[in-house]
Amino acid sequence: MATITVFPSRLQLPGALRRPAVAKLAVLAVAAAVLVPLLNSRWTNGTWPHELTVSLTRPLTAASDWVIDNRDSNPLFLYFLGHVSNAVVLSVRAVYLTLLAAGWAGVTAATALVAWRVAGARLALGTAAALLACGLLGMWVPTMQTLALMAVAVLASVSVGFLLGLAAGLSDRLDRVLRPVLDTMQILPAFAYLLPVVLVFGIGVPAAVLATVVYAAPPMARLTALGLRGADREVLEAVDSLGATARQRLLTARLPLARKDLLLGVNQTIMMALSMAVIASVIGAGGLGDRVYQALASVDVGAALAAGIPIVLLAVVLDRVTCAAGERLGADDGRRTAGWAYVALAAAATVAAALAARLAGRLDWPDAWTVNIAGPVNHAVDWMTAHLYSGVPYVGGTADWAGRFTSWVLDPVRSALLWLPWWSVLLIVAALAWLIGTWRTALTAVLAMAATGVLGLWKPSLDTLSQVLAAVAVTLVAGFAVGIAAARSARVDRLLRPVLDVFQTMPQFVYLIPVVALFGVGRAPAVAAAIVYALPAVIRITAQGLRQVDAAALEAARSLGATGGQQLRQVQLPLAREALLLAVNQGVVLVLAVVIIGGLVGGGALGYDVVFGLAQGDLATGLVAGVAIVCLGLMLDRVTQPTRRRAGKGA
């Protein structure tokens, strides 16, 4: 064991030990020196020892069987879960039927009018155009299905999240309990949420809606609590001195003051709900996600794109409209405008539009008005696979790149990780987490990593980890480079901003489509999708961090005659350390989420196990893999967790 060589000479030891980083490493080295020979003598093999695994297959299979046997007779199902499921089905159905009854003309008119009221004329036009585009692509009915499901899920998430946030905002004890839970839920990949609900509710819309609620409620809860706690002390004291009761204080002061946070919470909840509603097609959500899923299963890129474009349009429109609504409301300062007349007018216009379409016999989107893009797109993709896929002179084809990336990067990283003895992996995790964070984060990280081994998924976890590492490395290099460019040049920043805006609002699922077209099936496309998904957040945080560096420090450096490169290396980057660490953290979390979904396009490892569990109805496999994903996510987050963190995706 080369543990002692950390210290070249005994004389330096006390001085070196005074530096916290070295002290932490020393403690770990001592621990390793004691434990490793012990472990090594017991289990000489490098991979996770079999004796330390616990198989959950039998109890989980038994639970799954019990649910199937009892779900039509057990009171818990009949009198509680059945009603939950029923309520979901009924409400989704009610919304869906309303949307269908309004017809395409009615829905377009109504949404455009709402957008006009809350966000202005330009966004209203955009909203109408986006909805008509969905119809034009022949996706009207799936779009309405997704909208119906979303509407119910968002309503439920916002109310659940608001109540939780209210509780955490008012009670310190609840806040202490809820905060770590909500923080953790924020970093978990969407895929991990699917299986538990499938176990209870079976495949279908109720399970999809509930998974969406569980996924989308935490940001609302976090931001509600944040808003309530951030209220201005002086205002509250003033309200108190006026003799307001606790309820009055809440309703008249704290909630109105938290308005901005609440609206940001609604915005985030909507975006996350859309993202999840699409992924939930894997468990029978129907709608647009289902079309993408079907198309991906047959590598039909054209059809996937036809369903993917409406998802992107919905995402952009919903994000812009809720953001604009939030800003307007913030600027309004609570001034109530005469809204009833407008509401009545809008309702009348909607009914008129719906009736007009109905009388014209065009309530459903007319088939003749659809544009089939699948054919041309598939031709383009065929041309690409024929000409760009492989054997392009000098540069090689995209499939060649994917192949080379797999054999030169992914395979070596994976074999290196698998070659490392298991205890050394744990040691590395501990060292990294402790150096960046506290002993608490280090402990969580080590325990989470060890848990994947205990679950018997050491190898697939390391496989997933190797993909994450490769993707994160590329993301960080590219993200830092672009982020530095954006921070130094206002023009680059202006060019990038709209691109980043669009990319950050797109649901994870959509990224799988182009990578399959370019790179075929396997681990490389999964990694590529993850890189593209995580890049915008990393770029944004880097640029923001660099720009916020103290101007005085920069000025001082400049007056000392530092060149641009020197300023960057010696002043900006060190001062922006915090932001860069946050960028790493966000990058890792986002990459993991997509690498897991990559199981759908041949990414293998843990994501594949989840897909397999769902496909075979073998919930034990899927659930255990889901837990391992949670552990891996926890580990990666804690290892990269800077001491301070900010709220929200790519904040």
Binding site: I68, F80, G82, H83, I203, P206, Y608
Partner: protein, 317 residues
């Protein structure tokens, strides 16, 4: 104050949930039967042959019987569960799931048999015919170890590669490799589409490959393949999944309906029970979809227009 709120909440909860039982195994999809249209929900499995069944059934239900048809992409095993819950009405091609049949058809009686599809399915191991011509003895499993080095790939780690497709398909391949003591590694391509892509790429360069494959399948018309003989199938030899050491059976593919739908589904249910065609018919439609890249609807229309004598018999009088 707080107590009254609590009581009210409990009362509301009791009112909304306590009044009656809600059986969630009998809840249809919220998207079914919208606006009074009579809707039939069909399961679409991920392989093209079964998509051909659904395409033709959907076309005839919509154009001859005036139904609206919803389709849901769903894998084989979850499809049984969904069928029993009424979330889908019909499963048109099942390759044999004895456990599920025992549970849902015999015990719970929530799924009803709807007769055969008229197509017989067979799973097996296949090599490309150009390879079988080169090495005639490769088509016996006993000689596979001799040729293992031919099938080595990056993913198979020093052994020969036996390529499997989608994780959702019926397969005993891992057990077979182990029990027949073969020097092979089962590698999942992840989906059938990925498997087909790989087969076609190998065939283009005349490279050797060994793959899990099945009949009827349209790809045989594009890439001729020869089956590798495994130890012969005897009834019950595949009863214990871990100890299987025999070939896959020849399975007459079956149709299943949700039990309620089978009773009350009217003309649609009777039509689906009558639906019965041949391997050639199915392959014709499948080839149109998969190779000529027609949409399932166009492919179904083409077949329906040219085979009225076949489908006229299916329509209930």
């Amino acid at each position: 104050m707080r107590r009254t709120t609590l009581t009210a909440a409990v009362a509301v909860l009791a009112l909304t949930t306590g009044c009656g039982a809600a059986d969630m195994t009998r809840q249809a999809s919220p998207f079914a039967n919208a606006r009074g249209a009579r809707t039939v929900t069909l399961a679409v499995p991920s392989w093209v042959g079964a998509q051909a069944n659904v395409a033709v059934a959907q076309y005839l239900l919509e154009h001859e019987l005036d139904y609206r048809v919803d389709t849901i992409q769903i894998d084989e095993v979850p499809a049984w569960d969904a069928l029993s819950q009424g979330r889908i009405d019909a499963l048109l091609e099942d390759w044999g799931h004895p456990e599920q049949e025992q549970l849902y058809v015999r015990e719970k009686k929530t799924v009803a048999r709807a007769g055969g599809l008229g197509v017989t399915g067979h799973i097996g191991w296949f090599v490309p015919t150009y390879l079988a011509r080169q090495h005639p003895d490769i088509t016996d499993w006993k000689n596979l170890n001799k040729y293992a080095s031919l099938f080595r790939t990056a993913e198979s780690g020093g052994k020969g590669q036996l390529m499997d497709g989608s994780p959702s398909y019926i397969t005993n391949d891992k057990a077979l490799v182990k029990n027949l003591k073969l020097d092979y590694q089962v590698v999942f391509a992840g989906s059938e589409a990925a498997q087909i892509t790989q087969i076609r790429q190998s065939a283009k360069k005349k490279k050797p490959f060994l793959t899990y494959w099945y009949e009827p399948q349209w790809l045989f018309k594009k890439v001729p393949m020869t089956e590798v003989k495994l130890p012969p199938y005897k009834k019950g030899c595949d009863a214990d999944a871990a100890k299987v050491a025999c070939a896959y059976p020849h399975t007459p593919l079956q149709k299943y309906l949700n039990a309620d739908f089978a009773r009350n589904g009217g003309r649609a249910a009777r039509f689906l029970k009558n639906f019965r065609w041949t391997t050639e018919d199915q392959n014709e439609v499948a080839l149109l979809i998969a190779d000529r890249k027609l949409t399932p609807e166009q492919a179904a229309k083409k077949w329906v227009d040219s085979h009225p004598s076949v489908w006229k018999k299916w329509l209930p009088r």
